[in-house]
Subunit: 339 residues, 4 copies
């Protein structure tokens, strides 16, 4: 059984502690936060856990095997680095770091020290994403054409990052997990209206083989939308994460190029060169898992069995690379930035 | 009462004929099409209308006051030009022309000849767009932040244009009608999967004053979506054109920048610098008009009373300018193209 | 090719004429209506059809093989009777007659004269009902438990019948078509608010073998609902007729009685004596048929090939029997009325 | 500050304890349950609370001011009676008792002892019901025509009661709270399919002044529906409790009787004797309250300030009267049972 120290007990930290604590193996030993008030809450909820305002107590403790870094993104790099230097495995909130160079350095350091880094991309552990992965890997959708997601609501404005760094890591990590073709370039557009950071943004990712992905992220929408369309040659999939049931629907719909020829008079813009397929719709039963519980369990398992997590530092680095490219493209108001 | 000749009786032409024919004033005299079969159908439906395979009979007829050009976009320029040269007013299907230079030439020619051009952007005459226009002009939404539309379905692949030129003219014309700030630049991304033309595309339009518009158009979607979000400082609006009733909803929701200050420890990424407003939702009753009937009636009225239509050649030209910019940006795979 | 005369050209008559007229075989010869204005419209739309204000011209014409009776329900009996006496086959709008005795007499008369009666229960010819029939007959749903339909909107108040006789014939005929077990008794409740006839009503039909059906019909609903739930032992089905696509969904859900025993302390009201099955959802592609076209075609076929239609007078009589029982139960404000 | 003892810590009890415990005033002193396992859980969650398997310890404790009875319905009567006899105020889970006579006896006993009974009809404390109450009382809907609710899902089969006693108390209590006209009679139909108790049932309640209410309750539905329509003379309301936002919509729709006269030919079944009003739709922002918290707070307040709760024993008795009538009607398969 490994011992875990959690750094940061703000918005997300309590969920991390609750889930690590609920596992049979794995156990939270200590929690740190700069704010003593939240530590009082932590202590009340978990009397057996040590609390401290000094994260170094955790980072340097010989009793701690792994550290969960659940702090603002700007602090990820120094905290993860110190954890690794002290021989701790690391579970770190998304996004991994605030730039590519730092992420690369951490990945290298972990490699050298033979330590695990897992980046908390929780959605990868939901029943919906797992099922979609299974369907794509099983060839059910055929060649992927596009990935199109919309994640908008009247969102919590953040002071340290724009809407891209806040919301897009979810969808970029899901896309990365699902689509095996290599992403090559990023184009992003967006605008600031309220606090000087982009609150509305649109990101395109170009892949090899004509695959294209697009992400609509918005903190200023009156309605909450969390929908992803995935178009494949054989089937198409719609994932509406707000549906209580039937989150995923698979459509037996598509088009096929044909050798149709028009009426030869050049007047018919609607002459069909494609034929259409319109079949049944199917909504598979999804696993009822709490994603974060599955993820924390997987982290413990990876550490204990010395397995490389699929959402490791290298995977997290690629997300940071796309985020950094998105910001670079935003700065040009939409130029293409190669990855 | 003016006399109208209709060129083209393919997919859209019959709707044009039916609506012009249903007006009290205004009357279709002739219809031309290269395909004799569709003329037989036209004759059967409207025995009193002349039909011909030679459009010049109409373009040169002294009995025709106005010509409706309902043919493939590549033919708009020569047909509209000949119509104007023969002193006819012109009603022309969207998009106005296939490039900016031709549209400019036609606008100038019409001006010189004191003839009307109206571009058929039918959506501008729907109850939903009229009501939205009224709300925005009345200041109900306040300063506009963004315009975000999605128009996707398993669409009719066209052979002469990509999905941008097919679907975006609807939304670009609505945006142009609603937002008075000046558009400055276009960024477009997209990909071809089936017939060598973009079937999935994303267009951003940058305006003055931080207004941003975005258009998601897709011929390869398993589901039909026709939704537009408009974010304003005071209110936000959602237009779902597929709702049988309640197509438009106005949300009394928003955010306001405040002088909030955090806890000073730099640790709180969620310190609120904005306050949130969450109020009622209201769905106004919309006029039950057939948009195309209202538009054809308006065309007749503009000709008869010598009024300049708001959807005139100049307005149509601006749409073509944005479409051309979108194609230029697509050719660079993103990249800002100034208007 | 048979010749058809249509009596009544009000709300529904034009649809009947249009569909009979669109068939390759079968042809409308004459239309009658008491209102000369609607006959002018009929003549304009179909110049080749004879029109008359005297239905007897049609009923007694030797050139007419079959008569479509599309008149108010109180007139069905005399008109159908005269048609049969004159040797005409009959297509009659729902409900068949305004009481059981008259329906019985007409069925007997048709039998004696070897003539067809088909009652226009159009929904039976929709893709949704056909597919549901196929699924139930194929055993996919297993033993049927219940049939529960809701058909409400801000409806057209009728002056001659209550909401039960107006709306329930649709659902009663669908239920009759789908469920082979015998209906035994009817209970109906309802209330009048506007014009002295029930505008809100609830009908229960008891069948053999614990099957139960229920119908919620309402002219005073602010929203339009047309949803039917069918619970089966193996699968459950939801038919939402207002969905543009995916009208039918089949749920692999259900419960099974088990030999579960509780904790023995008598305190546990939630001890499970049933186990639950929650599986996939499936929405089959439906035939894209115009129901009324399929029905009129079927009528012609039945006459020409001397086939008994499944929606014949006997079937229509059973619907009238249930409607009459519903009215009898309504008069008692509930109370079981045996069929 | 009053001291509360909670009897029963099964499905609902933990919610009751959590909410009473979260109040500033009011405090749970003891919890009893026959099952020692659940007491262990209670103790772990609330170390300061006493737990016991003997409810009499609580019922007879001089330190307890009020008792919450959260046990199976058959035990309500003896437990509430003993609590009252020992001078305790009572908060009791719905339905109040398992028959009318017992409820009447308890109401009388509480009256005599000057003690409060509050029946836990939690929905009355939701933002949706409070707002609806406010709208009806404020005359916004005008004269009420009907109340029509549907509460169905693949429900937890209960062993001690049928679906009527399980689900209908929610809706009956809401109806009772909203509609001030007096209910006069009940008609219920239903059927048993799985465990010998009705799992599908339909209840009509007749009121004075032509008001009618109907309740569709079903444990065997593949989909979850929780929708209520309320038709008023001036406005109509739809409450969809499953909507995350916009649970309530108010429709400015209706019909008015007019002196319309038809065309006099007796042929027009669609001659309008009513005129239709179709206006805006409005969805008011609802209070974001946790209903059970508001209710427990209200209970404490009623006890402390000696106020009669509106959801008192007398109100709970009327619900039991309707439930008993529903069962009596079910036994006759749908006869009218007067209240």
């Amino acid at each position: 059984m490994i011992s875990i120290g959690v750094l940061g007990y703000g918005y997300w930290g309590p969920n991390i502690v609750r889930n690590f604590q609920s596992l049979e193996v794995g156990c939270v030993k200590s929690v740190s936060d700069l704010n003593p008030k939240v530590l009082t809450k932590a202590k009340k909820a978990y009397p057996s856990i040590n609390v401290t305002t000094d994260c170094r107590e955790i980072l340097r403790s010989p009793d701690i095997d792994a550290v969960a870094v659940i702090t603002p993104v700007a602090t990820h790099y120094p905290l993860v680095k110190e954890a690794l230097e002290n021989g701790k495995h690391v579970f770190v909130e998304k996004p991994f770091t605030d730039n590519v160079a730092r992420a690369e350095e951490l990945v290298e350091l972990a490699e050298k020290k033979n330590l695990k880094i897992m980046v908390d991309h929780t959605f990868l552990f939901t029943g919906a994403v797992r099922k979609t992965k299974e369907l794509i890997d099983g060839g059910v959708l055929g060649t992927i054409y596009y990935y199109d997601s919309m994640r908008v609501n009247l969102g919590l404005f953040q002071t340290d990052v724009n809407v891209v760094w806040d919301l897009a890591p979810h969808d970029l990590s899901i896309m990365q997990y699902l689509i095996k073709t290599k992403p090559r370039a990023v184009v992003a557009t967006g605008e600031c209206h309220v606090n000087g950071k982009e609150d509305v943004a649109y990101i395109t990712v170009y892949f090899d083989d004509n695959v294209i992905a697009h992400f609509n992220v918005n903190w200023l929408s009156p309605v909450k939308v969390r929908t992803t369309l995935i178009g494949g040659e054989k089937k198409m999939l719609v994932w509406n994460d707000l549906e209580p049931d039937e989150k995923i629907r698979i459509y037996d719909k598509g088009v096929t190029k044909t050798n149709g020829n028009g009426d030869g008079n050049g007047n018919n813009v609607h002459e069909l060169l494609v034929s259409y397929r319109m079949g049944d719709v199917w909504s598979p039963r999804l696993e009822q898992v709490e994603a974060l519980k599955a993820e924390t369990q997987y982290f413990v398992e990876c550490v204990e069995k010395d397995m490389r997590p699929f959402n490791d530092g290298a995977a997290g680095l690629e997300i940071v690379r796309m985020l950094e490219a998105a910001n670079a493209s935003l700065a040009q108001k939409g130029g293409m930035v190669y990855l």
